[in-house]
Structures are given as structure tokens and as C-alpha cells.
Symmetry: C2
Subunit: 144 residues, 2 copies
Amino acid sequence: MTGNSRFAVSVHILSYLVYKQGAAVPSSEIAASVDTNPVVIRRLLSALVKARLVNAQKGASGGFSLASAPANISLLDIYRAVEPKPSYGMRNFAPNQKCPVGAKIEAILQGLFFKAQSAMETELGGMTIADVVAQLRPICSGKR
Amino acid sequence: MTGNSRFAVSVHILSYLVYKQGAAVPSSEIAASVDTNPVVIRRLLSALVKARLVNAQKGASGGFSLASAPANISLLDIYRAVEPKPSYGMRNFAPNQKCPVGAKIEAILQGLFFKAQSAMETELGGMTIADVVAQLRPICSGKR
DNA sequence: GGGTTTGTAATATAATACGTTACAAACGGT
DNA sequence: ACCGTTTGTAACGTATTATATTACAAACCC
């Protein structure tokens, strides 16, 4: 999708928060579930907090919790919160402007990528974290 | 879209071949239009030849030409020919299998990415190189 | 006040992509 | 049949990006 795994990890994070049922979950615990470093988790959560998808609480017995009901958080919300640049597929594409093809192809490709990207985003917009968590059952949704 | 610019350059290449109206075009000429090294172009063309979208001709006065009519080459054909790995967005995502969330989230995400990817590919499948070239007009479609 | 946690900077390491050089093999024109 | 041209591909260098890790200030609860 994008080369990195920020979106995948973010969906994992939010699913874990749902799993923990509103408790304040520290980054270290989430990191253990994702199997990575807590700082990596906090960096993603920083973006998710800015997007108002998650609440953060500092200090002892602090941690992270969802800011909305799972059914109100679409995967597109997450995608847009953590995915950086919309320079889709044209990182270092700079054709020769003196060539009649090179001069016009860039704008055409941008429109083209926008359509492809929009199709994908529409798909992501139709799914929520609640849908993802529904597929996680049956895991002890009342225990722990 | 994918982080690299192989697809963008490939669409440029095929558009250029249409622009040259069936003539055998050497990689050096295409490279000048894209503004990169001829080897980069040949590497992509190697994949396009394997996918039977392009014909290659060695030797003096050789070069590349389209293997089909522009209207018969979809952008999805190109995308699949040159885009490498379908490990969409999960490059190094390997959650903790001992955690009930980590153990199941991977398969869920794969299904999710597949749906998002399919939506994008459907969009690409609905467009052809002929559509792209149509947007290039008016460039001297009969001149050199 | 003390221990815990977030927030973020700085740095290291690995993966990936693109650019470049080099050269063998195939081919066409003369 | 030769000679210049072009493809095809390997090998290597460099830049960019992503993730991991260490470090530490700031905020917070008990």
C-alpha cells in the first residue's frame, strides 16, 4: 500500500485499545503486543492523538485510550492520521520538460493516481475499527 | 501508491511509444524523455516485454515498440508487470503471537489490504494507455 | 516527592530505489 | 562477413526512507 507499516501497526494499536475496553494502556504494553519498541508506538500514537482518535494520559497509571466508539473510527481516519505524504508513486519522477510527452505526462499521472488513491480510500472509509475487532472474536472480550 | 516510481515511469514509457507511432524506439531516446539513465528504462522494459506489452528488437536500428493497440493495454496490466511485491503495507509487521490480538490481527489486516488494493486495481483496470495518450493531445501526433 | 508515563530529539542500522559503469550477446545494414 | 548499434543484465555506489534504540525533559497520580 505505502511501503511502510505505519497503517498496519496503527490498526493493531487501536484494536488493542478496544480489546482493553477503555482502560488506560501504556505504550510498553502495546509494544509487547506489536513486538516492537515503545517509542515506535508512541510516535504513531502521537499522530493518532493529534487526529483526535485517541486520548493520552501522562503520569503513573496513565496511558492511551480510544477517544470515540470503535464504530465511529473508520480505517480511512487512521490512514489519514498516520500516513505521511500524498506524493503517490512519483517520488523522484521529474521528466524532461523539453519533450512534449515529458511536459504533460506529470499532470496526467497525478490525476490518474488521485483516482486510484480515491478508490482505495473509499474502500477504507467503509470499514471501521469495530469491523476489525468483530473479526478478532472469539478472544476473551471480557477478561484480563 | 507504492513508494517507488516504476509505475509512473512505465506509463510514461508506453505513452512515449504510442507517441512514436510504432517506430522502434531505443532506450536512450526514452531515457531522454524521462530524464534518467537508459539502463533504468531497459530494466522496466524488460518487465514489460516479459508481460508481452512491448516488443524488443536488438541491433542497429532496433528498439522497443508496443505489442498491442493502446486501447488494449490497461493501466492494471502495466501496474502488475512492473510492480514487485504484493506484501502491501506490512513489510516488517510481525506481531507477538502470544498476544490474542497479535495472533489474529495479521490475517485480518491481510484481508483488509486485499480489499483496499482490489479497489485500486479495479480503478486502474478501467483505464488504458489510449486514455492517457488522449490527454496528451494536442501534441504533434503526426510529427516527429 | 517519587515513581511512572508521555513526548520528542538524536542517532544507528537496515532495506529499498535509483543511478551508473561495464560488457556480453544479438542484430541489421552495407 | 564485418562493424557499429542496441538490448540484456550483472555489479556496484549513493541517496532516501523506515524502523529500532537510547536518552531525557515534562507532566501527572498517588
